[in-house]
Structure formats: C-alpha cells, structure tokens
Amino acid sequence: MPHAIDDRDLLAFADGLLGRDPVRRELVEAYLEANPDDAERVAAYRGQTEALHRRYGSIVHEPVPARLTAPLERRRGGGAGWRRAAAAVLLSAAAAGGGWLAGQWQDDDPAWSLHAFLDETHRAYTQAAAGGVDAPPPAAAGGPLTWRSVSLMAPDLGPLGYRLVDKRAGDGPDGTEMARLTYDAGDGRRFTLFLRPRWRDSSAPIRLSQDGEVSYAYWLDGPLASAVASRLPPSETLAVAQAVRDAMRPPAPAAPRPVAPTPLLPAADDPAPAAQPAQASVAVEGVVAN
C-alpha cells in the first residue's frame, strides 16, 4: 500500500470526494471491509449527509419571501421596481458584451453545455406537448416572469404578428430554472420559447436542430440560454429565433433607453426581422437530424 488509510481518507470517502481517484477509493473500500468500526463511522457520516438533505433540501424550491427580495428592489431615486430592474439588467448585461462576468464564472453545473440545454428543451417541449403534469402554473398575463428569485419581462413579438399566449416560469425537467413562453400568430403558426438563466456571459450563435417535425433553434446571449421549438419549417424557426434574439437585445446605444414600457421592445425603427430570411450574421452551424 502506498500509505496507510487515515482519517483524512475516511472523511473524503464519506464526503464522496474520492470519485476521481479510483485507486485510492478501492484501497479505502478494501480497508473498510476489514475494519467494521470505521465502516460504521463512514456509514454514519453518510447518514448524516442524507439526513441533512432530506431535512433542508426542499428549501431551495420554496418561494422567496418578499422581505428578502425587497432590499434588492430598492433603488436610488426610488420609483422603479425590481422587475423593471431585472429587465434592465438583462439589457445592460447583453450590452456589456463580455465585460461583466469576464469568464470568471462557472455555470451551476460544470457539465452543462449548450447541447445539454437542447436536451432539456427537447424534454420540456415533449412533456408540454404531451400535456405534462409537472408544468408550472401559468404566470399572470402582463406580469413579469418570476423564477424563484429573479424575474424578467417576456419579449414582445407583436411586430412579427405573434402574440404571447402562455408563459410559465419554473423548474425544467432537471430541476433547473427554466421559463417557457408560447407564442401564437393566430393562423396556425405557433412556437415555444425556452429561457434559462446562466452564469457565463459568453455568446453562441444560433444553431438549428431537427427532431422529426420539430425544429429547434438555440443560442446563448449574455445571462440567458434561449431556444425556440416549433413545428414550423426550420427556416422559419430560424427567422423567429433571430427576431427573438434581437428583441431581447438592447436598443441601439444612441437611442435613449425606453423607461416606461417594461417589455423588451425592439427599437421602433427596427424592421420586423421575420420578414428577412436567414441573415449572413447568423452562423447556422449545422442541421442535426436525429
């Protein structure tokens, strides 16, 4: 044996920290086979950890009391509330273009990736289409989307002819925060927009993926991962995605930021982006057929 098993090993083993050291882990396991007293100790430690999770784990899913978010809503000069502030945060974060988080961040889950987000979206869309029972309740019309702790306004796609018919913010299939917005054009065209807050401030161009009749367009922009899912033709899904992304970006820097309307309206002089087919600025990285 390289060195004797000591308390440090047992503690790390009980805390599940030897996962990346299979050799050491096997040594500890063998040691515990031969030392029932220490095995009992490790088992008790693990029982403590499980008991803590059982006892306190659900707290993170509880709604946050208003008195805790109130200090965050307060603003110099008063007046504006947290909701509009959140929309403004979204705008300014997108505008900063890489400045504010500067790559120092990790997403909550290191394994998280754009592809994992697509999988989540796919599951959420399929569940919703099947009338999933776990769907979060619809949010009040005209109000902001509120996650457990943050809220933001849904993009207004009126210029495209789409109307927001349903919006829900809650947990996605994996317990992650995810908002689901359904837009309908009233003529059979309909799509679902998924939004997920994230840590990194990087961007990723719109990508397209196809699964049967459903096409997905997904991208990263500032503090949000977004995906459009629909039964529209892929080119139209892509056009919608572009429009959504543009609508969620800040207006041109020269124009004063609109103060009163809370929805993330595109600048008034913006042409309706859906009228244009895929633009050169959008890198379509490939159509993945499943």
Partner: protein, 170 residues
C-alpha cells in the same frame, strides 16, 4: 442598474437553506439572510468578481451569524432554563447522553464552527478548499472541524438512516 443585484438575487434560495441549517429555525434563518443581503448590497463594490458570488455570500452570512451568536445563545439559554425540568437544565447538555432522532436537534448541539463546516460541505456541496475559504481558515483546520463535528454528531444523532447506509457499505 447593476448586475450584481441579479447575481445576488439568484442565490437567495441557497442562502435560505444554508441559514436554516445553521440556526435551525426558519424565521431566524430569514432574519439572518436578510441581514446578509443588506450587508452584501452595501458592500457589493468590494466584491472582486474573481470568486463566485455564492461563496462570497456564504462568507458574509457566516460572519453575520458568528457576530450575532452571543445574542442568540443568550435567548436560547433563557428558553431552556424556563422550559426544561430542573435537573436537565442544570446538567451539561452533552453529558446527558441525549440521542436525537432529529438531525436538526443534533446539529443544534454542535459548536457553531463545526456546524458551519458540515453544512457547507455536506449540504451546500462545497469542496474543502471552498469551504475553508468561506470560513477563513486553512484546509487542515477545516478537516479537523469536520472530523470533530462529524464524530460529535455521530454520538448525538442515530437516525435509522445511518444503519441503512451501513448495510450498503458492508
């Protein structure tokens, strides 16, 4: 509008879990979170943006917790002296050999520094390095707090779960 507020707001659910496990009581935990948030907002210009905002908040909350410890202990002692039968109130608590079915009651009997070490690693999932940084101690100190806390907890808490887990290990 500053984005730090957005980042702080997203951590509130975890802060509530952390605080509840530290103080045991939901209302007291929200008081603690509120104090932590107000302090974080006042001091947010001091956040370097080099570490995670979550661990920064964990650290602020722990400091508030420790600074308020005196007040809280006194309140708890008064309650015990008034409510408990005479013999129990006078004897040192841990010498009574009290065994708890309730993990919260057992945690409550641990010293605050050991409790915090266990909560940060076992419940909040921090690595030993991160937990040591949050508590402002060296990693060796963290390990010894964990060991002592875990052992003390083992004497105090014999939830049936530990026996289930024991069979699984063997």
């Amino acid at each position: 509008m500053d984005e730090v507020k957005w980042l702080i707001a997203r951590e509130i659910p975890r802060l509530r879990r952390y605080a509840t496990a530290l103080v045991g009581d939901a209302a007291a935990a929200d008081d603690l979170v509120q104090d932590c948030l107000e302090r974080a907002l006042r001091k947010r210009h001091l956040w370097t943006r080099r570490g995670s905002v979550r661990n920064w908040l964990y650290r602020i909350l722990y400091n508030v917790f420790v600074n308020q410890g005196h007040r809280r202990r006194r309140v708890r002692l008064q309650v015990q002296l008034e409510d408990a039968p005479g013999a129990m109130a006078q004897a040192p608590r841990q010498d009574q050999g009290l065994i708890c079915d309730d993990i919260a009651a057992a945690m409550d009997r641990l010293p605050e520094d050991q409790r915090a070490a266990i909560v940060l690693t076992a419940l909040e999932g921090l690595s030993y390095e991160e937990a040591a940084a949050v508590l402002g101690i060296r990693i060796g100190t963290l390990r010894s707090r964990l060991s002592r806390g875990r052992e003390k907890l083992r004497a105090l808490y014999t939830g049936h779960d530990s026996r289930v887990a024991l069979r699984r290990v063997k």
